[in-house]
Subunit: 364 residues, 2 copies
């Protein structure tokens, strides 16, 4: 806090300045809230790396970047050498606002997931070996896959909830290769992976063949098409990690729900704070409840993603005040689990148009 004591800012003028900055980003076509600004200012006190600051901000990336830009304009923040430096005036301002630095209490053993992989060691070794030559993530399909640790932790989490062992499981979009982790670690009756990307389908089929995983299959499928008859109502559990435009997310989750048998069937999907405002979270929750699904788990930060190659061409790159490639893993999402109370209330119809864009999207 070097020097900050010398700059005196009173609470009222600090609040006025915050309101004025918020007003200037309110032209964004996404929700702008004071609480998100608070999260951004908590993060900036402990992280100079922009990706780390994004991760800690738990707020829409588009908002965070715009807020930073306004802070720079006001001389509260400086972008230099790929880092964000709070100016003394910025620190004094945040202090006057009474916003404390961000703190983390993630368990160092399980990275905050609460899940231990001890019981899955053998499968974990095989999984890590098998996925070494996986296809690279493509922006065309808004791909970006999770770490091997994450994929395995999802399997352990689902095993604990009785959702996968001796069950039939569908994976809707599988650049994460969760289907492979399931086949190796969870003794499912059957795992079907669907993906629009032929490279992924070929890769999973090849793994099934060379590893002798007869219960694992993969097929090319575009979620915009109705779910083929053969898969309707035929599964106990689905997994998906959808693109986060509301239309895209709904397409993926709805196909998953349509594939479920009914009461007691379960579904897993990922959802970020960076590409989905809490207003969007609420819309998604209302949608799930309307479809007879109840939320049983929301694990913040459970899914950790590998950095992808196409960072310079994603939308968020243009919003950043400092353009540096991420040195650490920064993109995280929550793991959500739903359970059906009865058959899903849904129609299996085609979805028109593109799935990847909405105002809050950052990585497409």
């Amino acid at each position: 806090m070097r020097g900050s004591a010398s700059i005196q800012v009173d609470r009222a003028s600090a609040e006025a300045q915050l309101r004025s900055i918020l007003d200037r980003v309110r032209h964004l076509p996404i929700p702008v809230t004071r609480r998100d600004a608070e999260r951004v200012l908590s993060a900036l006190q402990v992280a100079a790396d922009p990706w780390e600051a994004l991760r800690l901000s738990r707020a829409p990336i588009r908002f965070v970047c715009a807020f930073w830009q306004e802070m720079i304009r006001e001389g509260l923040l400086r972008a230099e050498d790929g880092r964000l430096h709070l100016e003394d005036s910025g620190r004094a301002w945040i202090q006057a606002l009474g916003i404390p630095p961000a703190q983390e209490f993630d368990c160092p053993r399980c990275d905050g997931r609460g899940v231990d992989l001890g019981g899955l060691q053998e499968a974990a070794v095989r999984f890590r070996d098998v996925v070494r030559h996986r296809p690279v993530a493509l922006q065309t399909f808004d791909q970006g896959y999770v770490t091997e640790e994450t994929a395995l932790a999802r399997v352990a989490f689902a095993l604990e909830r009785g959702d996968v062992e001796r069950k039939e499981v569908l994976v809707v979009g599988d650049d994460d290769l969760v289907s492979v982790a399931l086949a190796l670690a969870a003794h499912p009756l059957r795992v079907v992976a669907l993906d629009v990307d032929e490279r992924i389908v070929r890769f999973i089929r090849e793994v099934a063949r060379t590893e002798g995983l007869s219960q694992l299959e993969a097929h090319v499928y575009d979620v915009r098409d109705p779910l083929p008859e053969a898969w309707l109502g035929g599964f106990d559990t689905f997994f998906t990690d959808p693109t986060e435009s509301l239309r895209g997310l709904r397409a993926f989750v709805d196909r998953g729900l349509l594939a479920l048998r009914g009461e007691g069937s379960a579904g897993y999907f990922g959802l970020t704070r960076g590409e989905s405002s809490l207003a969007k979270w609420a819309r998604i929750q209302r949608m799930l409840l309307r479809r007879n699904a109840v939320l049983t788990d929301i694990r913040d930060g459970f899914n950790v993603y590998r950095n992808w190659d196409y960072v310079e061409t994603m939308r968020a790159w243009r919003w950043l005040p400092v353009r540096t490639r991420p040195a650490h893993l920064w993109y995280r999402s929550a793991l959500l689990r739903i359970e059906l109370l009865s058959s899903p209330r849904l129609v299996n119809r085609p979805v028109r148009g593109q799935l990847f864009e909405d105002e809050e999207a950052a990585t497409t």
Copy 2:
């Protein structure tokens, strides 16, 4: 699996027997689902201790006990010496149903919470010392408090989400003494604990005095009464761990919501699977969304409760086929966090009648 190979049961007759048992418990005035039966049968394969089996079943206690009773009647299960023993016929039946044994993957370091208390050591020592002489849990108020570890983990969890440091916090019903943990560990601006039990109010006031915690206060308050004007809209965050009848839970959570400032304010409460069916979970989630609150976190099994003295007089005691006092901690609840999208849609009116009973309640 001693001897189970010698008893052959085919899938179809196993399913028929399960349907018939489910039909015989359907007279219960609570939801009865096949999926809950599956969870019960997974748990029985690994736990003979009834309390451990209840914990692992993640289903309404009233249903679990009735299901056990029917299994005993059918000769599939034997209750003896305070333990539940699967008969060979029971094992063969479960095997024919294709239901695997329950598995656990909770991180051994953080007990599955995902939260590490390393950064709160000093406060943790003080908290454990201070609460040694707390009031005992009373059935009159459906009390039953969490472990010190749990109370501290809640504080760490809320600190990480920026909900308590330099914030004003209300605790609605505080036999868990979360207000004390907050005052000791979280640097809040103000913590107000409300409880209907004068013993708890006196205890917290005494701790505030002897420990010099000037930001901590406690008041007698009955959630059936409207929230006094002084506390309406005056807090950033609330905590509550309500009784789980729908009316009771709504009373506690609604007073918490009414105490919040608005957009970005947060609330925490506990919810079990043992006293609340997933159908009740869905009703609660719909209620929260109607009030402009969005769910941001649901952490299964986060709250671990100390065993209480009044186990022999609670409703579930009469339902149990084996009446033995629990030797281990078995009662758990999920920690839920909500955040307000805007002012809560709610009226501050009195609640009439008793709060503790509904058909799914087990501990009152």
